[in-house]
C-alpha cells in the first residue's frame, strides 16, 4: 500500500485486526464511507476515535437517534430566533446567514482540515434516513435553500458509519459503502485488548478469566452474551475483590457484571448446578 497516503495502523488504545485495517485503508483511498457492523461491544464507535487519533485528525461525531432526520445533519434554519430578533429589533434580520446553523455533516464539510466524521448507529433512525443522505455523501455537497448557497466539502471527510443491524439498510446506500463486519475477537486478540486496558493482570488470573468468559459465550441459551466491556469490568471486579484464581471457574463470582438479564443469570446458575438447563424459553 502506498506509504504517502493516509494509512491507518491501529492505535495505542485500540487493537485492530489486519482485515479491519485493510478495510479502513481501502475506504480512505477510495473516498467512500466505511460501514462497520458487529456485535455490541466490539468497538465499532471506538474505531473512529482510533482512526482520528492515529491520523491526527479532528473527530466529528453525529450520533443518530430515532427522531434524527437527514436534514438535521446538514443545517438548521433558526426561524424562531429570527422572528424574535425582528420583534425586538436586535441584530440584522436581513442577514439570513446568521440564522443558519451547520449540522454535523455541514461542520465536517466546512472544516479547514480533513476531519473524520462518525455517523454513529445509523440504524436507529427511520428506514428512509440513509437514502436521504445518498446525494450528500456521494457528492459531498448540499444546497441551502434560504441563502441559495451550495456548501461543498473543502476536504472530503473520512466517513465512518456504524450500525447495530437493528434495521436493514437500503441497497442503494450499501452500494456506496465499503463494508466490514467486526467479528468477535478470539481469545488471543482478547488478551491483547485486555493488555491495552490493564497493564498488569496476573497470568493465571487471565487464563482463568478468558477460559470462563468464552465458556459463558458458548452457552446458547443466553439471551445477551457478555461482550468486551463486560469482560473488562469483570476483571477489574475480580482484582478489586481479591478473588482466588482457582475459584473463578467453579463459583463465577460477580456474575452480575457479565450477565445483565435475570433469565441469563438463572440459566447459568442451573448449568452450574446440574450441568444442563431447560430454561431456554425465557418464560
Amino acid at each position: 500500500m502506498n506509504e504517502s497516503m493516509n494509512c491507518f495502523k491501529g492505535s495505542q488504545a485500540y487493537v485492530a485486526g489486519p482485515e479491519l485495517m485493510y478495510a479502513v485503508n481501502v475506504a480512505i483511498a477510495l473516498e467512500k464511507p466505511l460501514l462497520i457492523k458487529g456485535e455490541p461491544g466490539t468497538g465499532k464507535t471506538m474505531l473512529a476515535e482510533a482512526i482520528a487519533e492515529s491520523l491526527g485528525k479532528e473527530l466529528i461525531i453525529w450520533s443518530i437517534k430515532s427522531t434524527t432526520k437527514a436534514k438535521d445533519g446538514l443545517y438548521v434554519y433558526d426561524t424562531v430566533q429570527r422572528l424574535y430578533d425582528s420583534q425586538f429589533q436586535e441584530g440584522d434580520v436581513a442577514d439570513i446567514k446568521k440564522y443558519i446553523h451547520m449540522g454535523k455533516l455541514g461542520e465536517a464539510f466546512t472544516a479547514e482540515a480533513q476531519p473524520v466524521l462518525l455517523i454513529d448507529e445509523i440504524d436507529k433512525a427511520d428506514l428512509e434516513f440513509p437514502n436521504d443522505l445518498l446525494w450528500e455523501l456521494d457528492r459531498m455537497e448540499f444546497y441551502i435553500h434560504e441563502t441559495k448557497e451550495t456548501v461543498r466539502a473543502k476536504n472530503r471527510p473520512i466517513v465512518i458509519i456504524t450500525s447495530n443491524a437493528e434495521k436493514e439498510l437500503p441497497d442503494a446506500f450499501l452500494r456506496r459503502c465499503i463494508f466490514h463486519y467486526i467479528a468477535f475477537p478470539d481469545s488471543d486478540t482478547m488478551r491483547k485488548i485486555i493488555a491495552v486496558h490493564y497493564e498488569n493482570v496476573e497470568r493465571k488470573l487471565l487464563d482463568q478469566v478468558i477460559e470462563t468468559f468464552y465458556w459463558l459465550r458458548e452457552i446458547k441459551e443466553l439471551q445477551k452474551k457478555p461482550g468486551t466491556p463486560e469482560l473488562l469490568d469483570w476483571i477489574r471486579a475480580l482484582q478489586l475483590g481479591g478473588v482466588k484464581v482457582e475459584r473463578i471457574h467453579g463459583e463465577l463470582p460477580f456474575l452480575g457484571v457479565l450477565l445483565k438479564k435475570n433469565q441469563d443469570f438463572d440459566v447459568v446458575c442451573e448449568i452450574k448446578e446440574k450441568g444442563y438447563t431447560r430454561k431456554g424459553w425465557g418464560v
Partner: protein
Amino acid sequence: MFIEFFYLLRQHQLKISIKEWLDLIGALDKGLCGPGLLDFYHLCRSILVKSEVDYDKFDQAFAQFFKDFESPFEIPEEVWKWLNGGEKSKEELYDKIDPNAPRYQLEELKQMLEQRLKEQRSCHRGGNYWIGTGGTSVLGHGGFAEEGIRVGGESRYRSALQVANSRAFRDFRQDNIIDTRQFQVALRKLRQYSATVETARTELDIDGTVRETTDNGGFLKLVFEKSRKNTVKLLLLFDSDGSMLRYSRLCSALFQAVHKANHFSDLKVYYFHNCIYEHLYTSPYCVRGEWESTEKVLNTLGSEYRIILIGDGAMSPTELLRPGGNCIIGLYNELPGIYWLERIRDKYPHHIWLNPIEEADWDYAFGHVTIAAIRDLFPMYELSLEGIEKGIKKLLVNR
C-alpha cells in the same frame, strides 16, 4: 480480467452490481491491493460484500474460483527463495514441452508435491522433476507442464484459501438457522401502517396546519392526518412438545424475538401439542387445564389477526385426521385435528405455517404424509431467516 469471478459471485446469489465491480477495478488500478491472494481476498470482500450474511457465500465462491491458484501446503522458506529467483524466457523453454508427459489428477499432484518437498535439497530451474521455475516439472511456476500445481509467490503465513475455506461466517448465512436478533429484524418487516389502510384522520398535522393557516390569511385552519401506527395483530400458535423438543432452541429464539418486538398492535401466543384440538395451551409446557378453548379463541380474535403456526407437522396420520387422535391419554377429541386447522384457515385469511424441518426433507421426513396434508391447508415455509422473510411477505399481501 476476472470477469468470470464476477459472474461466479453473482451465481452465488451475491447482489453485486457493475458499480461495485468498477470500484474494485478502480481500487486495483490505484494499487491498493497488496501482493498476496489474501490481500486480494480482503479487498474484494470489503468492496463487494455488503452484509455479514453474505460473507459465507463470498468465501465459497472465492474458494471455488481460486482453488487452483494456490497450494494448500506449507512451503518451506528456502523453496520460496528458489522459486522467486530468476526465470528463463518462454522461447527458451517452448521446445522442451513433452507431448507424452503423463497427466496427473489434482490429488496425485498434491501427493507428489508433498513427497518432492521432502526429497528436494536445492534450488532448481528448468528441469522436469524438481519443484522449480520454468521447466516442465508439474510442480512450480513459470513452467509449461499442462497440468500442475502452481507454487507461486503468495503470502506465506496464512493463505487466502485457508481463510476462505475456513468459512468462519457460515453462521451468518441467511438461510441458516437464526438467533433472536436476526429474527427480530425479520419480524420488523411485518408491519402495515395505518396511514396506508382506511382509518380515521385523527392526528393533528402541524406542518399542514401552519401551511393552510398562512394560506388562509392567518385564520386558523386545522389539518388532520392518519396516525402512523402499526396495525398488524399477530396470533402465534406454537407446537411446543414431543417431536418439537429438538427444535426448542430455535423456537425459543423466535419466541423471544416476538416478545421483544413491540411494534405489533396486538400479540397473542398459544401453544399446542402435535396438532390443534379443542384446547390451546397458554404455556409452552402444555399443562392440562392451563388452556383456553379453541372455539373461544376463534370467536374472540377477529379475522384481522395474522396467523403464524410453528410446528414440524410430523405426526401419525390418525392424530391429524381421526376423532380421538389426540395422543395425550384422557383427552378424547370428538373432532379431528384437521377440522380445527381448517377452521383457522377459513377464519383468518392471512396465515402461514413455519416448519423447522428443512424444506428439502418435507417429502421424505418422518410424518411426510401429514406435512403434505397441512401444506394443502397453509402455505408452508422453512423456519429459517429466508423462510420467515418469504412468509412475512405472504402475510402482508392483501388477498
